[in-house]
């Protein structure tokens, strides 16, 4: 087994605006199973951060437990990271974000870590609209413990041993929309042309950005009869739209030809450029997003792409009216203004 990736890279790699080549955003060599969808998502994160000119030290990776939650080791080695307790990544992310609002918080979780043990934390972090990216690498099984059905396994899906799942699945995307997540997208690990722009838009979103990525488990859930296999997903995938994320200050030059165009302006002037494929769907309308997901489900399709976005949302810091300066940068004289100030405050309370 090879544990070390050769250091040599293509001699003609382009540099981004910071002067880094893409390999500066790589992580350690993956120890996940060969062909794991999670590795493709990691590669998507690397590419998105490279293209977004993100300084790696401005980003913190957070995860819980599971195959998915190992992946932060496999991208952005030069970033901060916190591998937390099973299902408790949102708490750690919340604490970190409140202490330093200036970092980009990149949460990675799995279907077990989110839809089972972490469900309580998941719904509350959505409710609070914490400014973070929350990616679920969703393979419908517990890959780390030999592939038992997870809570996102579809009713009727067959696992590797031939057992059919009897329970309805938790649809994380619908749930997130329902709970008021301000950015909800769904994608497939085997489609980076869709996934990378989604990650870029999620990074740019000023609130909680959720991406549910179907990521086949090649070892335990890539069999005939599984609804999370490469083949099944490829056959049943339907996109809401093809999309591009156009950063601020960049001229929009994408030409999609015929079809319905839609531009979503983000808070900082950047634009999500959509070429709509789904009918009766408006990414700014929660109701239509829920309908689109349910309609697709009724047709046995997996709806991918951007589902819903509220670009004008207010994140937790706004709601709590916290200090604009990150807490970790406040000096002692600000944090402990002295006995005079205390007297004043006490006087106000009399």
């Amino acid at each position: 087994m090879t544990y070390v990736r050769p250091k040599f890279r293509h001699p003609e790699l382009v540099k981004n605006k910071l002067g880094y080549t893409v390999d500066y955003y790589e992580g350690a060599l993956s120890t996940l199973c060969a062909g794991c969808g999670h590795d493709s998502i990691s590669a998507g994160v690397v590419q998105a951060c490279f293209e977004m000119n993100i300084e790696p030290h401005r980003l913190a990776k957070l995860s819980g437990i599971g195959c998915s939650s190992k992946t932060p080791a496999y991208f952005l080695s030069n970033s901060h990271g916190f591998n937390s307790v099973h299902g408790r990544m949102p708490s750690v992310a919340t604490g970190a974000n409140l202490a330093n609002r200036d970092l980009i918080y990149f949460g990675v979780s799995g279907d077990g870590d989110t839809a089972s043990i972490g469900m309580g934390q998941f719904v509350h972090v959505i409710r609070r609209n914490l400014n973070m990216i929350y990616i679920v690498m969703n393979n419908g099984c517990y890959g780390l413990t030999k592939g038992q059905d997870s809570a996102t396994a579809d009713n009727g899906s067959k696992n590797k041993t031939g057992q059919v799942n009897l329970f309805d699945s938790i649809d994380l995307a619908s749930l997130a929309i329902e709970l008021g997540s301000t950015f909800v997208a769904q994608s497939f690990s085997g489609d980076k042309t869709q996934l990378i722009p989604l990650i870029k838009a999620a990074i740019n979103h000023p609130g909680f950005a959720f991406i549910n990525v179907i990521s086949p488990c090649v070892t335990f859930n890539n069999n005939v009869g599984s609804t999370k296999s490469y083949d099944f997903v490829r056959e049943h995938v339907e996109a809401t739209a093809t999309m591009d994320f156009v950063p601020q200050m960049q001229e929009i030059s994408v030409n999609y030809g015929k079809g319905s165009q839609k531009q979503v302006k983000m808070h900082d002037g950047s634009v999500i450029q959509l070429h709509k494929l789904a009918e009766d769907w408006d990414p700014l309308d929660r109701q239509s997003a829920i309908n689109a997901v349910l309609n697709a489900k009724a047709k046995n399709e997996i709806l991918t792409g951007l589902l819903y976005v509220n670009p004008d949302c207010q994140d937790l810091h706004h709601l709590l009216q916290t200090s604009a300066t990150p807490l970790n940068e406040l000096k002692k004289d600000v944090l402990c203004p002295g006995s005079e100030m205390l007297k004043e405050i006490n006087a106000d309370l009399r």
């Binding site: 087994m1 090879t2 070390v4 990736r5 050769p6 250091k7 040599f8 890279r9 293509h10 001699p11 003609e12 790699l13 060599l29 993956s30 199973c33 060969a34 062909g35 794991c36 969808g37 590795d39 493709s40 990691s42 590669a43 690990s189 085997g190 980076k192 086949p216 090649v218 890539n222 490469y230 083949d231 490829r234």
Partner: protein, 596 residues
Amino acid sequence: MKPTDIKDPEYFHKVVDCQYACPAHTPVPEYIRLIAEGKYTEAYMINWDSNVFPGILGRTCDRPCEPACRRGRIDEEPVAICRLKRVCADNKDDVKKLMPQGPFKTNGKKIALLGAGPASLTVAKDLAPEGYELHLYDEHKAGGGFMRSQIPSFRLPETVLDEEVNYILDLGIHTHFNHYVSSMKEILAKDYEAIFVGTGAPKGRDLPGMKGRDEGKANIHIGINWLGSVAFEHTNKIGKTVIILGGGNTAMDCCRTARRLGGENVKVIVRSPFAEMKASPWEKEDAQHEDIPIIDNHVPTSFVVENGKLTGMTFEKVHAVYDAAGKRKLVPIGEPDVFFPADDVLVAIGQENSFPWIERDLGIEFDKWEMPVVNEKTFVSTNKKVFFGGDSAWGPKNVITAVAHGHQAAISIDLMCKEKDMANDRPSPFVNLASQKMGIHEWSYDSEVVNDLRYVVPQADKKLTLTNRKKEVELGFDLPTGFKEAERCLNCDVQTVFTESKCIECDACVDICPTACITFTENAEEESDLRNMLKQPAKNKTQDIYVSGILPTKRIMVKDEDVCLHCGLCAERCPTSAWDMQKFFYNVTKVGKACH
């Protein structure tokens, strides 16, 4: 684009850059792996089969393999292939018992080989075990040709030369040394089935008519003749101040030899700019290391002779001017000529073919440059019994090219003697392609890519080497360094083989490839378009792209071979073994080894 036909052995052959560039197509990565395993004898025999003179070439080869080495495209310098060859030659056990064992059953056919250089010796090596009676003629007292007369002993010790020449002579070759063949007609009149001409390019260029040339002739020497005279110990000293004219490897050998025969103030003076000199870079470095200045952009104008004795030379200073087509012209810069003193001048400005001994009425056609007309594939001249190879065929090249010619000419001679068609009955190369998979993540080759920079071959102390002409300068790699240098080889012969029917398009190979070689994309009509559609555009057109058939998503897999590290990570990360690492062995078939 149509899918790549990997069943055509030439596709993967081209991926093995070093082997492809070697005129004799020596399986380089195969023997480098054997060196890393400590199997020096086996490594030597792989070499011996292909290039016949591993010990000689491991010291003196022109190394066309090294500029081709893939490592040079991703790292600062290529693998030291040539000097690794010397490692196996220096450390082998008895190899003689692994060579064909005579006496061979005779087939009753006699062949004459003219000139005992590398081309003729290769023909002899290939034909002797087949039962041919081989008669080798040379004007000198020992075999080796220019390897003996022109390569100085401090680069190639006589013991190494004798050993490898004798491996061939010991196959039962009838030698006729000290025998200058002065008439082709006489040879043709004898009962030889075929005559192979391997007489090299023996005539050194001179500066006839230059002012002072005749008056100063006692101290003006033709470089190759002078080197030969030193090698055969007819000459053992030279003046203190010496000028060498010329910028090729012969000039480098001349100046370094002059330093050892008493030359204290030795200079190389060359017409062209330093960077454009014909000498190999490492030979220029070695000369400079021995305190020999190389003065470029100086065109000789006269020999200065005073009182009947050469005192020096005058030169015109020039600079290189290039026209739109890139053609170079040396233009005087307008300064007065400069004088350099000299006790002796060595003229090493090139060499050419010369066939005064071949009568022109023997059906051997010569062209307007007085060169024989030779078939490029079969090496036969217009006389069906006469073959040419080595420098004598198309002018001066190098030892490894002569060896390659010898192998092919031997095949032609054998086919002719068996009344087969020389052009169409030639044997195909021997090819094998075998998976290296040992387990889930385990390969039978060392797939790890090391980051070491090229190791430098140590040299003997200059004080020793400059006082003894026969003291070898290079010491060769010691075994630990040889191992480390061998580990730098990327194993380009272990091929990435793609089976599209197994691919599930999970992208694992794309994500893991360190050098961004692999792309899944829609197809394009034109190769040039497809090259631009890749994850990292394939700009190096000398390297092929490997194109698969259509996959279930209607895309194709395209792999740019250019900077593939052959690290095997694509195959390791492939869940379905659609990628496999398979060792490709390609060997040019020699006489008697064809499949029947």
